[in-house]
Each structure stands twice: as structure tokens, then as C-alpha cells.
């Protein structure tokens, strides 16, 4: 692109969002060229922070006119490079669009702008609707609700209600050609109670597409009852082969808010064991204790056989586990005093937990890297997200390379076990598409080419050849 053309585009962006919110300076180009993970950096040409859907619409029309790429960005915490502008162009930082537009208490949904953070919605509900909650992920609170559903994220209510994208109750999207489209009940009604049914469900054109089919400017998200009391239990076993049955029995009780199975080598008190963290909620002591009893009873066989038992949680440790989002998960990044971690999160059957767990330990040993394994149950044991996580020191290129190799081997193994990728890197997307049914790929290509004729939306991602 010539200098004159670049100057013109910059001036146009300034006209759209104001000078304070646009940059083509080296500092912003450096920062927005990367995320905190391990993917190679690539600089955008411009960074903008719009405040309205109409501003985004104008940016998209400009990008179409100039045939330059657009990459929408939330907090950039997927860690797999999904917001790295692989072909340059304009990064649209959505986080100035952070208003909470509506909470319908009786219909239990909220409508938020496309840059609203998970933390802000949680705090807003805590203050104004203490009987309501949403499925907050354990990512840092700055991550956005729109980006989370766009990558099919999960959260604290995923065991009960599925992927967070299953909880969407409507969308407003700026299409790659600049039109603003409403998706779901909000397309014909003032209410945002359904993302599709009973109309044709168009939300699938945007959820899971990693920002390649449009920019989500508003999200309707379902809210759920928030009980007055909440407690945590941890079941521990040294036999990973028992975890699938344990999770199956626990989900059968339908008594739990959330459950995750996890293991890690450090600190030493956790080494060699698999832990299932269980969250119980209730409006009364009776409800809480009834649920606790059901949960304990469901695992009686394992307790009786001494294959596992409930861990006594020190009162001082409880706030760490009850924290939402759990801050201690973020601090995994500094285990090596290096500020970095990345994880692949294949979605797989729960019965694959033992092989995936053994593989992760093997990778940690093989590549001499610190690992953490975590499985979040999705639905009533319908699947799990198995987090293959490694921490690294950002100042140690050799360690970073070893983590890259470990992740690659881990995700390849997970695919071989029948898993599918979550928030995949570009390389993982290619690997997934190589395994996909050809007609599925053809359908994806048709959809993409029709929605985005100029190929401007987050190019390089979900690229069907």
C-alpha cells in the first residue's frame, strides 16, 4: 500500500472514531501485533477503538472500499493468536463499547455491547440483580462476552447449560459488507429471548467463526438463578481411569453448579492426584446440605473402596476456589517467573480423560515444561474441554519453543482421540479442516464467500482452500 493511500485511510479512520482512538504509531502496532500466547506476531496497519455500531459499520465499509483486512478484538486472551492480524489491516478493539443495555429480570437475559467484559456484567448483576448470574469463564475479567461466544467459550454454568454460545439469546452483527443485522427474536421483537428458534437460526453464521463472518456489536445472553449460598468440595483420586465414571455419576445427580477435574505436578501436595472440584449452591442450608449429601452418596463406592475421598479444604483456601473468575488460574502464567502460558482446549468425550491426562504428563516430561491439566465438563457429561496447558518464561526462547512443540503434539493426539479443536490456532484450524468432511468444508466456503465477498474479515482464519 502506498504512503498516500495509507494516509488517506488513517484520515478516514480519524474522521470515524476521532484522533484519540485511532493509531498507526509503532507502539500500538507493536502491541496489537501479538497476544500473550506463543503465536508469531504480525503487525496491523491501524488500530481503532470505536464506540458505536455505526462507527464499526463505517470502518467496515471503508475496509471493503480499500480491500483491507479487519480483525475484531476483545481482550485477546484466547492465547492462540486469533486476534493477530495475519494479513495486516485494521484491528478493531471493541472494548470501548462496553455498555450493559438491558437486563430483563423475569425473562432472565441481558443485552450488552460487543466489548462488554465478563467482569463488568458480573459486577453489574451482583449490584443490581443479586438473584441473577451468567456463565462467567475463569479467564481474566477483562475478556469480553461477545468474543467468548464467538469462540464457543465455556464458563461456570457450562456443566448445566452447555457452551456459553448455547446461552446466547440474540445478536446484533455488522456484516462483512457493512449492513447491521439482528439475529433471533430481536430481529422482529423488542425482546432478546431467543437467538434463533423458532425462526431460522442464523446465529450459527457467527458463533464459532472466530470473527471471520462479522463483528458482534450486541449480545443477548441468558442469565440464570443465583442461589444465596455456594460451597466447594474437592474429590481426590490417584486413578485417572476412574475420572470418567466419577464425572458420569456426579452429572447424574444434577445437583452441581459446576465441576472440573484437574491435575498438576506442582505444588507437591497436588502431585500424582486427580482432583474434581465441585460447586454446590442453595438458597437454604437444607438445600445445600441435601445437594451435598446427594453428591457424597453418588461417590460412595469410590470412597468405600478407598480409591478416592473428599479432601478437607482449609478455610483459608476456600476463597481461592470460590473466586469468580478464579484469579489463581491467571497466576499460572508466572509459575516460571516468565509471564506466559498457553493452552489448547480440545473438546473430547469424557471417556478420553485418562489417555489425555497421561499424554499431558508425558509431554511435560518429554519437553521439560511445567504443565497443568483441566477438564471442564460440558453439559451432563456430553463432552469436556480438556485443557492442555503449559507455562513458559517469556524471556526464554528455548522454553517457548519446547512449549510450542508440546502443544502441537498434544492437540494432534487429541484429534487422534476423536476430539475437535477449541479456539484453534491457524495451524490447528488447518489440521482440523484436513480431517473434516469435504462437503462440510464446501458449505463453510460457500457461507464465507457469500458473507464476505472481499475476504476482509480476519483473513487467514478458517480459510477453506
Amino acid at each position: 500500500m502506498g504512503v498516500d493511500k495509507m494516509t488517506d485511510i488513517y484520515k478516514s479512520l480519524v474522521e470515524i472514531v476521532g484522533e484519540e482512538h485511532v493509531s498507526n504509531r509503532k507502539e500500538e502496532l507493536y502491541f496489537y501485533a501479538r497476544d500473550p500466547g506463543l503465536m508469531p506476531a504480525h503487525e496491523p496497519d491501524y488500530v481503532v477503538a470505536p464506540e458505536t455500531p455505526e462507527e464499526i459499520q463505517e470502518i467496515v465499509m471503508l475496509a471493503n472500499k480499500e480491500k483491507i483486512p479487519i480483525v475484531p478484538m476483545g481482550a485477546g486472551m484466547a492465547l492462540t493468536g486469533l486476534i493477530i492480524p495475519l494479513k495486516g489491516g485494521i484491528v478493531i478493539d471493541m472494548k470501548r463499547m462496553r455498555k450493559i443495555l438491558e437486563v430483563n429480570e423475569k425473562a432472565r437475559y441481558a443485552v450488552v455491547e460487543g466489548g462488554t467484559s465478563q467482569g463488568a456484567l458480573k459486577a453489574y448483576l451482583d449490584r443490581n440483580y443479586p438473584n441473577l448470574r451468567h456463565s462467567i469463564p475463569d479467564a481474566p475479567p477483562t475478556v469480553t462476552i461477545a468474543a467468548n461466544v464467538a469462540i464457543h467459550g465455556q464458563g461456570r454454568l457450562t456443566q448445566q447449560y452447555g457452551f456459553n454460545s448455547d446461552m446466547v439469546s440474540g445478536l446484533e452483527v455488522v456484516l462483512p459488507t457493512g449492513e447491521i443485522a439482528k439475529i433471533g427474536s430481536c430481529s422482529m421483537s423488542p425482546s432478546w429471548f431467543s437467538k434463533g428458534p423458532t425462526l431460522p437460526d442464523l446465529s450459527g453464521l457467527f458463533l464459532g467463526w472466530l470473527g471471520t463472518t462479522g463483528i458482534i456489536t450486541k449480545v443477548g445472553i441468558k442469565l440464570y438463578p443465583r442461589k444465596k449460598m455456594r460451597d466447594v468440595e474437592i474429590f481426590v483420586t490417584d486413578r485417572e481411569d476412574l475420572i470418567p465414571e466419577i464425572l458420569f455419576r456426579l452429572t447424574h445427580t444434577e445437583m452441581l453448579e459446576d465441576m472440573t477435574a484437574w491435575f498438576q505436578a506442582k505444588p507437591i501436595i497436588f502431585q500424582g492426584n486427580h482432583h474434581v472440584t465441585l460447586y454446590i449452591t442453595g438458597d437454604t442450608d437444607e438445600e445445600l446440605e441435601f445437594k451435598r449429601k446427594m453428591v457424597w452418596d453418588s461417590l460412595k463406592e469410590f470412597r468405600d473402596s478407598k480409591d478416592g475421598g473428599f479432601m478437607w479444604i482449609l478455610p483459608a483456601m476456600k476463597p481461592t476456589f470460590l473466586d469468580m473468575p478464579q484469579r489463581s488460574i491467571t497466576t499460572f502464567a508466572d509459575v516460571k517467573k516468565g509471564g506466559g502460558f498457553e493452552y489448547s482446549g480440545p473438546i473430547a468425550l469424557i471417556e478420553k480423560y485418562p489417555v489425555l491426562a497421561r499424554k499431558l504428563v508425558e509431554l511435560g516430561t518429554k519437553f521439560k515444561v511445567a504443565y497443568s491439566g483441566m477438564a471442564r465438563v460440558i453439559g451432563r457429561s456430553h463432552a469436556m474441554m480438556f485443557g492442555i496447558a503449559f507455562t513458559f518464561n517469556r524471556a526464554d526462547p528455548d522454553m517457548m519453543e519446547r512449549v510450542r512443540k508440546a502443544l502441537h503434539e498434544g492437540i494432534t493426539f487429541a484429534f487422534d482421540q476423536g476430539g475437535i479443536p477449541w479456539k484453534p490456532t491457524v495451524e490447528e484450524q488447518k489440521m482440523a479442516m484436513e480431517r473434516m468432511d469435504p462437503n462440510t468444508l464446501k458449505l463453510m466456503k460457500m457461507i464465507k464467500e457469500n458473507l464476505d465477498p472481499n475476504g476482509i474479515m480476519n483473513p487467514g482464519n478458517w480459510k477453506v482452500n
Binding site: K26, E27, Y32, Q118, T142, R327
Partner: protein, 385 residues
């Protein structure tokens, strides 16, 4: 660079941007510009890039560093073990720019003003004590307390008004106070925050020498910034004096009924200054004073105490104004939040907050609805009423 072994450890997770419950973005430059480079995580990544030659020194890099208000919200809410060094890292990065002479012109002007005139206002030294003319407040000789008013209290209009109110209340309460007048020098707190460590050391050494020469043992400060530097930095350089912010002393005088309060029918909210609150964990004395006034209705802004939003004036920004006003400036946001409480007075206890917020009231065009007043002025009203 000092602390450079830590810089790469930032995960840019963004906890540092928020209040404790995540309800609000609480980093002033990030609030205004909305680009991640302006938040603490952005600064950390840019400093790391600068150290590793990923970016070069530039006007914009310097602006980003100097836009930091040193409000300490990042330090308060960061989840990592190195959180206590965040502001030290930013200060060290600025010190590198000072060393190379690559600082924004407004910052250079601020520092040159102090070198040439002893204050950033470029006012003559003999004007320092003029606010006290016509009062009973004497120059320090052997009084029990030195009342240190600082640059803003000496030269800025709201600051001078504040110095007068506080000084007269302290006297009224029976305290033996004296001021330095034309001998007073900049305390250096913001000079240090701007990375001019050499100039800071010189100011601190001169002040310590003077304090010792004239027998100062106890200091009451008008300005939380001075309180901060006297209690945290001067002892490291041999200046071990007892220091209080004036609200700590005033709260005791009010409690002991040494200042009789008739009452004041007013709705008031309060701005926690960063260098009193987050930096020094002093939240209660100003509230105790306000709550002791009969008829005064006190209500908190939604962000308060350790989650308070900075006025935008810290880190020298009250003078350098690298950020400027605008609807998303933290001072204007703060005025809107004060109005939400129904208050007609926004109480302050820092001359810098006073100036920033007073300007913001005008910028918002709400002079008819709310005014900014120092707590000492409010106490005077309560005495008169």
C-alpha cells in the same frame, strides 16, 4: 534499567484496569484513550519491547509513560507477586528517558521550572508564603509542627485557599504551627514519579538539611503527595520526621471537640486522593470529619476508598497536562459520578484534586449543581453556621 528483570513477566491479563469487583475501568489514561497500550499491561509490554529493541524511543512512547497518573490502581489490583513494583518499573522507565533527555516538552518545562524557580509554576520564591499574610500563622521557629503546604498550596489559587483554611483551623484547634514561607521548597514527590531521580535526591537532601537545621520534628502536610514522600522516601535519605496529613490531625481535633462544629446543611461526597488512600491506606479521617458535622449528609461515590478513581492529576499531570480534558477524562467522569450521588459539594483534601476537579466542573458546565470544596473549608462553614 532498574527492575528490568521483572518487566517481561506481565501477562497483560487486564486485572489492573479494573476496580476490585470489575464494575468499572479505573485506569485514567486507558479510560480516556481506550487503547490497551495506555493501560498498565500495555506500558509493561512496551517497556519490555523498548528494552529489547522491539520499539525505539519516540514521542508517543514517552507520552504513554508520562500519561500514567501513578494512581496505584494497577498495583492494587494486579494478581501477580510483582505487583508492588509496577509503579517502580514505570518510574524507572521514565528515568531512562530523563537520562536520555527524551521527555515530553511539558514534562521538561515542569522540571526546568523546579530547577530554576524551585517550583513548577515558575513563580518567585518570595511569593511562597503570601497566602498566610494577614493571618496569625508565623514562620517556623520553634513551633511543635511544621505546616508544609507545598507548591500547589503556595501558588495555585485553589491550593492557596486550602492552605489558608487548613492553617487557620490548625491554629484554632490550639496547635503550635509554623510555615517555611520563602524557605519552602518543592517536596519532590512528583519529580520522583516523573523519573527525575537526580533532581528528587537534591530536593530531598536540601529539605532534610533545612528541616534539621531549624529543628523540625513534626510535619503536617497540606498535600497527600508531600505526606507520601516525607513518610516513605525521606527516611531512606536520613530524613526521619514524624509526618501527618492534615486530615489526620483535623479529625483528632474534631473528635476532641477542640474545633466546635455548629452544623452545615449540605449534601457532600468525597474524593479519595490516591496518595492518601491507595498509596498510604488512609481512608477514614476525612470521612470522620465530614460525618461529625451536624446536618451534613454524606454519601459515597460508587468508586471509593481503594477503588477510587484518580482525579487525573497525579504523576505531574496536573501541571504537564499530557492527557488534557475531554469527556472521557477521569476528572470529568468523577464529576458525573459525584452528581449521581445527589451531592452539591465534592469534598477534597488534596490541592491537586481540587484543581483538577474544579476545572472539570467548569468543563462539564455544572457549576450550578455542584462545587468542589476542601474539607477544611467545609469545616469553616460548619463553624460559622
Amino acid at each position: 534499567m532498574e527492575h528490568q528483570e521483572i518487566v517481561h513477566r506481565c501477562f497483560r491479563c487486564g486485572y489492573c484496569k479494573f476496580t476490585e469487583d470489575y464494575h468499572d475501568i479505573n485506569c485514567p489514561p486507558y479510560l480516556k484513550f481506550g487503547l490497551d497500550t495506555y493501560a498498565a499491561g500495555g506500558r509493561m509490554w512496551l517497556i519490555n519491547a523498548w528494552l529489547n529493541h522491539g520499539i525505539e524511543t519516540s514521542k508517543h512512547y514517552a507520552e504513554i509513560l508520562y500519561l500514567c497518573n501513578t494512581c496505584g490502581n494497577c498495583k492494587e489490583h494486579c494478581v501477580f507477586t510483582f505487583k508492588d513494583d509496577l509503579l517502580n518499573i514505570f518510574e524507572a522507565a521514565k528515568a531512562e528517558l530523563v537520562e536520555k533527555g527524551l521527555i515530553p516538552p511539558a514534562v521538561k518545562d515542569y522540571l526546568q521550572g523546579i530547577v530554576a524557580n524551585g517550583n513548577p509554576y515558575k513563580e518567585p520564591q518570595n511569593k511562597r508564603g503570601r497566602w498566610a499574610e494577614g493571618t496569625d500563622i508565623q514562620t517556623f521557629s520553634d513551633q511543635e509542627f511544621l505546616f508544609y503546604v507545598g507548591d500547589a498550596g503556595s501558588y495555585d489559587e485553589p491550593g492557596k485557599k486550602m492552605a489558608l483554611s487548613v492553617g487557620s483551623l490548625l491554629s484554632k484547634g490550639g496547635l503550635s504551627i509554623g510555615i517555611l514561607g520563602s524557605k519552602e521548597k518543592c517536596d519532590g514527590n512528583d519529580v520522583k514519579a516523573l523519573g527525575e531521580t537526580g533532581l528528587f535526591a537534591k530536593l530531598a537532601e536540601e529539605n532534610i538539611r533545612l528541616f534539621k537545621e531549624i529543628g523540625v520534628k513534626n510535619i503536617i502536610t497540606l498535600d497527600p503527595h508531600a505526606f507520601n514522600v516525607f513518610t516513605k522516601e525521606y527516611p531512606k535519605l536520613g530524613g526521619k520526621f514524624k509526618a501527618w496529613h492534615y486530615t489526620q490531625v483535623l479529625a483528632m481535633l474534631v473528635k476532641d471537640k477542640k474545633i466546635p462544629l455548629s452544623g452545615y446543611n449540605a449534601k457532600v461526597t468525597y474524593q479519595d486522593p490516591c496518595y492518601l488512600g491507595r498509596h498510604n491506606d488512609i481512608y477514614n479521617p476525612p470521612r470522620e470529619i465530614l460525618k461529625a458535622i451536624p446536618g451534613l449528609v454524606f454519601s459515597e461515590m460508587k468508586r471509593n476508598r481503594k477503588n477510587s478513581l484518580c482525579c487525573g492529576g497525579g504523576g505531574g499531570n496536573f501541571m504537564t497536562d499530557v492527557s488534557g480534558l475531554g469527556k472521557d477524562s477521569s476528572s470529568r467522569i468523577r464529576i458525573r459520578e459525584a452528581l449521581e450521588t445527589g451531592a452539591e459539594i465534592l469534598a477534597v483534601v488534596c490541592p491537586i484534586c481540587y484543581k483538577m476537579l474544579d476545572d472539570a466542573v467548569k468543563e462539564e458546565g455544572v457549576e450550578e449543581k455542584i462545587k468542589v470544596q476542601d474539607i477544611a473549608e467545609i469545616v469553616h462553614q460548619a463553624i460559622r453556621s
